[in-house]
């Protein structure tokens, strides 16, 4: 029963992440939606799969390794894209920009 609840939570989070990528105004806020909702939804869905599956222990461990790799890799890529977009010349719409003070 609990795996279906986790699956539903993950799907709802994924839908909100996609809506956030469409609705937010600039790249950095879009990256917020992409990273958080994608990582959270993916981890909950893979946990639900690991609870649902009836196979040997190694298959469950393999799904848990996939969860760990997603949690490790996804924020790293978002950090790289944010830095690259700033260096590319996309100005963020912000209240205070302390990064531009130090790197003119």
């Amino acid at each position: 029963m609990i795996e279906y609840l986790l699956l539903a939570f993950g799907e709802v989070v994924m839908i909100f992440g996609a809506l956030g990528i469409i609705r937010f105004p600039d790249v950095y806020t879009r990256l917020h939606a992409a990273t958080k909702c994608d990582t959270g939804g993916a981890m909950t869905i893979l946990l639900a799969l690991a609870l649902y599956i009836d196979a040997s222990v190694f298959i469950k461990l393999k799904l848990l390794v996939l969860t760990f790799l997603i949690a490790l890799i996804n924020p790293m890529i978002s950090h790289a894209i944010a830095k690259g977009a700033y260096k590319y010349g996309i100005k963020p719409e912000v209240v205070v920009d302390m990064y531009a003070w130090d790197n003119p």
């Binding site: 958080k36 490790l72 205070v96």
Partner: protein, 201 residues
């Protein structure tokens, strides 16, 4: 500005850098502990990926991961603090530190998902880029701190700048609550930095 303060400043920076390097070298793990820890991590990964517990597979995996661990010992385990015996360290990590971190991050992740959903519906954003200071110095520690900051609600790490002895993080904050650096640092980092300072240098 005359010439002498510049010269003194350079000299002071050099001395400070050397002191930092010496204290860093003194706190490193010895070589065989680094090799053993890397070997444990790689061997468990081998067993999980191959999904096969026959004897010849274990022997092949053990030898191959031992060779790789003796080459790669500085990449994974260079930044771990030197404290206590090896077995004591492993038991502490598996029973105390890792579950604590997982519980903290799980609740933070759920909270951040709900917060992003709220932001998508109401569009109440006021973004800003803040500069905060951390006490961590090693590469692994700063990487894990930046990843954790990205997964906590409302923040995204942009860049890291390392001046001597001090590390600064640039954080894109989706709703700026305060402009004070100290308060912002406390709000953004939370108790993750306290946890990371126990393990990483």
């Amino acid at each position: 500005m005359s010439r002498i303060p510049f010269y003194l400043k350079e000299r002071l920076e050099e001395v400070q850098k050397r002191v930092l390097y010496e204290s860093y070298e003194a706190q490193k793990l010895p070589v065989w502990e680094r090799i053993t820890l890397t070997w444990i991590v790689l061997f468990s990964f081998w067993i999980v990926i191959t999904a096969n517990t026959s004897l010849d597979n274990l022997i092949i995996g053990g030898i191959a991961t031992l060779i790789i661990a003796s080459f790669m010992r500085d990449m994974l385990m260079e930044d771990v603090r030197h404290k206590g015996h090896l077995i004591e360290k492993i038991i502490y990590f598996l029973l105390l530190y890792a579950p604590q971190y997982l519980i903290i991050m799980a609740f933070r992740l759920i909270e951040s998902n709900i917060k992003v959903a709220k932001n998508v519906i109401f569009m109440d954003i006021k973004p800003g880029i803040m500069k905060i200071r951390t006490d961590l110095h090693s590469d692994t520690g700063v990487t894990i701190l930046a990843n954790s900051i990205t997964l906590t609600p409302g923040t995204l790490t942009l860049d890291v700048s390392k001046k001597l002895g001090e590390t600064y993080l640039y954080v894109h904050w989706i709703y700026v609550e305060t402009l004070n650096r100290e308060k912002a640092g406390e709000k953004i980092k939370g108790d993750i930095e306290e946890w990371l300072k126990k393990i990483f240098w």
